[in-house]
Amino acid sequence: MIFRAVEDTDLIRQAGRGAVEAFNLLVSRWEKRVYNYLLRITGNREDALDLTQDVFLKAYQNLRKLDDPARFAPWLYRIAHNEAYSMFRKRRPEVDVSELEPEGTETGIAVGGGSVFPLELSLAVAGALKQLSPEQREAVVLKIYQGFKFEEMAEILSCPVSTVKSRLYAALELLKIQLAPVKARGAS
């Protein structure tokens, strides 16, 4: 008998055949990441949780449309992105989506409490992220916190790779300037 770890692709195939337990296992592997992605672009815990549930429900309903199980992550995040922006539009239909800011004051900050980083730095980072445009912030979240490649980000955001890079690098320039004093103090 050969033991091997059950991979996402196995679970996706089983879930596609109607195995709810396999899908639940898949959810347990991805729910925290999807929740944190949504938390950082919506800035509201309740919204993030509701949206996460909606995302996985939609994913279950449309799992058969996923042709390549290896592309599950960008496919799932594409659903999450669409759900979040759909919510933004419903709430403020008169405002252009690119101009929308997270509603809540909580920007997904989990500072202190055993973090190896000083509280001051975490607060500075949260503040600096808030200064970015929603598109720049989402690019930073997908690249830095979720670890996607540029091509995957382009698929999730439905835009060219050049646009993704431009958003991310513009955001990093701003963050570098904003966080430089804090880093200097932390280093000293």
Binding site: G18, V27, K143
Partner: protein
């Protein structure tokens, strides 16, 4: 401005191929500016990591409900129609089957000419003569019918002209009679007017 052969940000964020990465590795070792730029980018990235992921407040799980769960047949059906490739294949297969069935089932087209010619040359000549005869007869009938129609129309037109002519003659006769009558009356009036009535002054002179 970076002097690196490739974008240092792509290098730091692991977006370069292995070969490109090696080239930048070599460059960065010898270039202090690029080394410092890479360091700044890594510090920014590290600072961003100071924000930790949160735990999800409520775990998500789905329950299989036999009432709402679609049947295996329905899932297969939905899955079939959900795939464009399968749909295309099914369409092509149905078209192929339809073509084969049509080729097998369709009635043979009747072509008596060539068959008769191959079996009996005389039959073809008779058949052609008959056809010619029939065509000629049809043409004759059509011509006769057309001529008859033309003749009828012509006779009708002649009759109308004659009748019109007769009417005009009668009218002319009436006019002539009236003219004669008028002339006669005029002569009579002239005769009467030329009658020399006796006048008082004229008679006095005489």
């Amino acid at each position: 401005m970076s002097c690196s052969p490739f974008d240092l940000r792509d290098y730091v964020f692991q977006e370069l191929s292995a070969t490109e990465r090696k080239q930048v590795d070599v460059h960065v070792k010898g270039c202090q500016n690029c080394r410092e730029e890479c360091e700044r980018l890594r510090l920014t990235e590290a600072a961003l990591f100071s924000l930790r992921d949160e735990e999800i407040p409520q775990r998500i799980a789905f329950v299989s409900d036999q009432v709402f769960e679609p049947s295996a047949w329905r899932r297969a059906w939905a899955g079939f129609w959900g795939s464009a490739a399968r749909l295309g294949f099914a369409s092509a297969a149905m078209l192929s089957v339809a073509l084969v069935v049509f080729a097998v089932v369709r009635p043979a087209i009747q072509t008596p000419g060539p068959v008769a010619a191959s079996q009996n040359g005389k039959a073809v000549s008779v058949s052609s003569a008959e056809i010619e005869q029939q065509i000629q007869a049809a043409v004759d009938r059509a011509v006769a019918s057309s001529e008859a129609r033309q003749r009828d129309k012509f006779e009708q037109a002649v009759a109308e002209i004659r009748q019109q002519d007769l009417k005009e003659r009668q009218q002319l006769t009436r006019f002539a009679d009236a003219a004669i009558d008028m002339s006669t009356r005029r002569n009579l009036l002239v005769e009467r007017s030329s009658y020399d009535f006796p006048r008082a002054d004229k008679g006095g002179q005489q």
